[in-house]
Symmetry: C2
Subunit: 234 residues, 2 copies
C-alpha cells in the first residue's frame, strides 16, 4: 500500500527545519532506521552535501539516519533498496531534470506503489502530482518533460499563498496563475498552505496540519477543504 | 537599427491599461499607424479577441489601430508586413509555445533587428531576453525550448519584486530564485520594477520610468541602476 506525506514546506515561519512535522514523521517512519534523501532541488543553489547535512540535522531529532542519493554510484539501486525516501524542496525544474537524467522517475514511482514510504516538502511534494505544472519555481533548467510521479490523482501547489490584502503589486496572484493552468489543463490542483500536509494511505488522502487547503477544479469556483477531511476526486 | 520598449508591466497600481507609458509610446510609434498585437499569453485565460480589444482600448488614446495576429491566416507574413509589434503579458510558457508553433520566434527577431519597433509588457518583455528562464509564470504548457528572441544580451525579470518586509511566507524570494538561476546559468538578469522600462536603440539600452532596476550578475552581489542610466554588459 502506498504511504506518503506531502508537505507544503519544510519549515514554518519562526520554526526550525522540519520541527512542526517531526511528531508525524516519527509515527510515519516508525519501522524505518535510514532514509534515502534526494537533495537534487538544491534550495538557494547549495551543494548536495550541505543540503544532506541540513536534512540529517532535522531527522536526527527522531533518530533516523539520512543518506544522500548523490553518494551512491547506482542511484536506481539505492532507490530500490531504500527503507524510505525523502525529497527536499528547492527548484522543481532542477529536481525533475535530475530525476529524468538519472532514470529515477519511474523507479521511485514503482517503489512507492510497492510500499516504500515517501516524504516530500515543497518541490519534493510538487513531484508527487500528475505534472510539475503548478510549481511556483523559476524554469532555471529545461527538463525533458513536465510529467512527474503521478502518485496522487491531481497536481500540487505547495506554499499556497492567498492574495495579499492591500498589495499594490500587479503580478498575477497564485489563484490567477492556477486559473490560467485550468484554461488549458483538466486535472484538479490542491493548494497546500504552509504548515499543512497530505497524508496518503493507499487511495485515502487526508489533509492534516494547521490550515485548510484550497482546491481548484476546472470550470468550478475554488473551495476550501478543512484539516482532517479527505481529499477525494475519484 | 533595433528599437524596443521593454516594460515591466502593462498597468501600474491605481492606473488604467498602459496609461503610465502612453506618452513614451506616442513618441516611440510616431511614424506608425497600425500595430500588430500578439495576444498569445492570454492573461487569466481570456480569448485572443478579448485581449485584442483591451489592447485596442489602450492604444486608441494615442490614435493607433491594433490588429491581433490571430486574425491573419499567415502570421509569419503578418509579422513581415507589420509597422510595429506589441506583445502583451500573461503566461510566458503559453506565449513561447505559440510563437514556436507558428514559426514566429525567428521572424520576429529578424523584423526587429531590421528596424520594426517592438513594444513588450511583462511576458512580452520577458521574451526579448536570451531565454525565458527568469519568468515568474507557471509552466502551464511545455514549450519546445526556453530560448527566446535574444534582442538584448541578458535575461529579463519583469514585475521585479523586492523581499516583503515582515512576510511570514517561506517560499523563495525573487532574489533567491534568481540566485538559483545563476547557480546554473551565466547571463545577467535585469529585474525591472513595475512602472519602469528599458528603451533600446541599437546597442544603447536606457532605463526609464519611476524606479531603479536591480541587476543580477553571476558571482556578484546584486546592485541597482538608476532611472536614466544605461544598462551595459558589453
Amino acid at each position: 500500500m502506498k504511504k506518503l506525506i506531502i508537505a507544503s514546506t519544510s519549515t514554518v515561519h519562526g520554526g526550525s527545519y522540519l520541527d512542526y512535522i517531526l511528531p508525524e514523521l516519527d509515527q510515519f517512519l516508525s519501522e524505518v532506521n535510514e532514509v534515502l534523501f534526494v537533495p537534487y532541488a538544491r534550495p538557494g543553489g547549495i551543494t548536495h552535501d550541505d543540503y544532506t547535512t541540513i536534512a540529517q540535522n532535522g531527522f536526527e531529532k527522531i533518530n533516523k539516519k539520512i543518506t544522500g542519493i548523490h553518494t551512491f554510484s547506482d542511484p536506481v539501486k539505492a532507490v530500490k533498496n531504500a527503507q524510505a525516501i525523502f525529497t527536499g524542496g528547492g527548484n522543481t525544474f532542477l529536481l525533475v531534470k535530475m530525476l529524468y537524467k538519472n532514470n529515477l522517475m519511474e523507479v521511485i514511482r514503482e517503489s512507492v506503489l510497492n510500499g516504500t514510504p515517501y516524504f516530500g516538502t515543497s518541490a519534493g511534494s510538487n513531484i508527487t502530482g500528475l505534472t510539475m505544472q503548478t510549481t511556483n519555481d523559476m524554469p532555471i533548467v529545461y527538463p525533458p518533460s513536465f510529467k512527474t510521479l503521478s502518485l496522487v490523482p491531481f497536481n500540487i501547489n505547495p506554499h499556497y499563498l492567498d492574495p495579499i490584502k492591500g498589495s499594490t503589486h500587479m503580478g498575477e496572484t497564485r489563484e490567477t496563475r492556477i486559473k490560467e493552468f485550468h484554461n488549458i489543463n483538466t486535472q484538479p490542483v490542491v493548494g497546500i498552505r504552509e504548515g499543512s500536509w497530505l497524508n496518503v494511505e493507499g487511495d485515502r488522502i487526508t489533509l492534516k496540519g494547521e490550515l485548510s487547503a484550497r482546491i481548484f477544479e476546472q470550470n468550478k469556483a475554488p473551495y476550501e477543504v478543512a484539516s482532517g477531511a479527505e481529499i477525494d476526486f475519484y
